[in-house]
């Protein structure tokens, strides 16, 4: 009930926002409306871009892929370029919201490494719609004062050696994905036998698990309430800032890789300016500035090559190739499969 009231409130406030904002979006000739997640670009970059090109940037923010999507569809603002996450990009491409970019108009696009274009194929099979921006992994954050052995496999979570001291993910997709990876299957498997096998494993693991969290995991580890936890690399970075005894590892079996990319919308009038902007983001000096501001894994190889050796050795920032080889990007699963997962998850939670 609470959730629904929130939703209704959100809808009503969206309508209000639409009312106040209509009236923007004129003089599109030399302006570019950029839509991105909050705090997800170095603001100085926008100034440099305006200075160099004379194009005015109107910058808009959203907090989650879902809010970004509904704001885009509300249609009161004409967004020219958007940055969002893998599964939402897949949806937008399927629904025809994005247009193909012209690779020949780009000067710096080759800075984006081949590996990342390959990962993008999970949601943009022809690499014609989206340009990788940042990415990250799901891995294990552990307390080096409690865990002395090497953490390099998901097995450490399932063999009972840290019973009562581990935090798993309270997120259906991530739980099944890491378990499927541990079993050596694809995270995008449609084989229900493989999914059932993963189910048995997480049910058996439940007594050993201290708690299932998502956002709270970083605090629990930073305060020393658990020995290890499964976490997104971005959160791991925050936790490690709070407690220097923490370390992050991506298991050798591979993991779920998330990716945020840019695309040009079908509403865009000034494709030229949009492409200039996206090319600008790929430029080495700009990408470097941006990386140092956000500190997520960058797909820009020029930036990676130029990195401080210490930073480049950090698996959280630059996952080694042999780990990346085993990673996959989650695809939008079919409704039937989603329902299958959902029922298993409820059964698992009820145990």
């Amino acid at each position: 009930m609470k959730k629904l009231k929130k939703l209704t409130a959100l809808l009503v406030s969206l309508v209000c926002v639409m009312g106040t904002l209509s009236g923007c979006g004129e003089d599109s000739k030399n302006t570019l409306v950029v839509f991105n997640y909050g705090n997800y670009i170095d603001p100085a970059i926008l100034d440099i871009f305006e200075e160099e090109t004379g194009i005015t940037v109107k910058y808009e923010e959203a907090t989650t892929p879902e809010i970004l999507y509904s704001k885009y569809h509300a249609g009161s603002i004409k967004y020219d370029v958007v940055c969002t996450s893998d599964y939402m990009l897949e949806r937008m491409i399927k629904e025809g919201d994005l247009i193909k970019f012209d690779a020949s108009a780009f000067e710096h696009i080759d800075n984006i490494g081949e590996t990342y274009w390959d990962f993008s194929k999970a949601f943009d099979p022809t690499n014609e719609y989206t340009i990788p921006y940042f990415y990250g992994t799901v891995g294990i954050l552990y307390d080096t004062t409690k865990v002395t052995e090497d953490v390099d496999s998901w097995e450490i979570l399932f063999d009972g050696s840290y019973a009562g001291d581990i935090i798993m993910m309270n997120s259906m997709r991530d739980m099944y994905m890491l378990t499927l990876k541990y079993l050596g299957y694809s995270i995008n498997t449609t084989n229900t036998d493989e999914i059932d096998e993963a189910q048995k494993l997480i049910v058996a693991q439940k007594p050993d698990v201290q708690a299932y969290f998502v956002d709270e995991t970083k605090d629990e580890l930073a305060t020393g309430n658990a020995a290890m936890g499964v976490i997104y690399s971005g959160d791991a970075f925050v936790a490690m800032e709070m407690n220097e005894d923490l370390a992050y590892a991506v298991p050798k079996e591979g993991t779920n890789l998330w990716m945020d990319s840019w695309g040009i919308t079908k509403q865009c009038d000034n494709v030229d300016a949009a492409q200039k902007f996206l090319d600008f983001l790929c430029r080495e000096d700009i990408a470097k500035m941006n990386f140092e501001y956000i500190y997520y894994s960058t797909p820009n190889e020029a930036v990676i090559e130029d990195m401080d050796p210490e930073v480049a050795a950090d698996e959280m920032i630059v996952p080694p190739q042999e780990i990346l080889d085993n990673c996959e990007v989650c695809q939008m699963t079919s409704d039937e499969l989603l329902e299958y997962y959902n029922n298993l998850w409820k059964e698992f939670k009820a145990k």
Binding site: L4, V209, Q210, A211, N225, K349
Partner: protein
């Protein structure tokens, strides 16, 4: 004319009720009976009887009942003590009891997570005194604890109000007629505060029954209540039909329970405090 103008004053409230109570309810009911392909079905509502959902539902009832009983046992004596105090002190104590409500509800739940955790403040304090630690975090006990803490004021206030309405004369008259303390409590105080008790029970039981934050945060996500199931249907699995069906089933059952409570109340006194 005067009557008319007074009616207009209610317009904002009517608007509010329509937008935020009636329309959402209609939406929910509509989702609950639609099958997603344009047809109609009762399956989503009957889904409450599926073993997984039923288990979560029964567990929710159990925890909500325990929480309500604990709140009542804590609240009633406090209110009895309050009645005897001088007016000035009374105000201060009631203010202190309400004070936690000024802070954000979720924030207070997070605070209990920090306090109750195995390496938390309470356990390090117990350790300092050489006492054994309490390990209730991530168990149903922690969930009940959090609910009692958050909902206790909702039990105290209605009972406090109904108790304060009892005139001293009645009690003195009973004493004059030779009633002892226990008889006075049983025959006068308890019966006259019953409407307050019932509205207290309603205001504690219903939110305790439907919440999902306590089990996610204090239960460590290991315990599935019916609120968690509904939340999940709306968020991760995007099955609004099933989520709405379960909500409607839950609402119906709660209404039935409340109607029964209400009936037992009306046999004693017709005065309704909440509906």
């Amino acid at each position: 004319m005067k009557r008319m103008s007074r009616k207009h004053l209610a317009t904002p409230y009517v608007f509010w009720i329509i937008c935020f109570t009636i329309l959402p309810l209609i939406y929910i009911a509509w989702y609950a009976v639609s099958d997603g392909d344009g047809g109609y079905t009762v399956e989503n509502i009957l889904a409450i009887f599926e073993p997984v959902h039923w288990k979560a539902f029964v567990l929710s009832i159990e925890l909500a009942l325990i929480c309500t009983v604990v709140c009542l046992l804590l609240a009633y004596p406090v209110v009895l003590i309050l009645r005897r105090l001088k007016i000035k002190k009374k105000g201060t104590i009631v203010a202190v009891l309400i004070l936690p409500m000024w802070m954000n509800f979720i924030l207070r739940v997070y605070a209990w997570q920090v306090l109750l955790s195995d390496n938390g403040i309470i356990n390090s304090f117990l350790g300092m005194l050489g006492l054994p630690s309490i390990n209730i975090i991530n168990t149903p006990a922690a969930i009940v604890f959090g609910m009692v803490y958050d909902f206790l004021p909702f039990m105290i206030l209605p009972i406090y109000n109904s108790l304060m309405e009892i005139p001293n004369d009645i009690i003195e008259a009973a004493k004059d007629l030779g009633a002892d303390g226990f008889t006075i409590f049983r025959k006068i105080i308890w019966k006259l505060t019953l409407p307050g008790v019932i509205s207290g029970i309603t205001m504690v039981f219903v939110p305790a029954m439907t919440s999902f934050v306590f089990s996610d945060i204090l239960g460590g996500g290991k315990i599935q209540l019916i609120g968690n199931v509904i939340e999940q249907e709306f968020t991760t699995s995007m099955n609004w039909q099933l989520g709405s069906g379960l909500s409607i089933a839950l609402m119906t059952i709660i209404l039935l329970i409340m109607a029964l409570l209400q009936k037992s109340n009306q046999q004693t006194k017709g005065n309704n405090m909440i509906w």
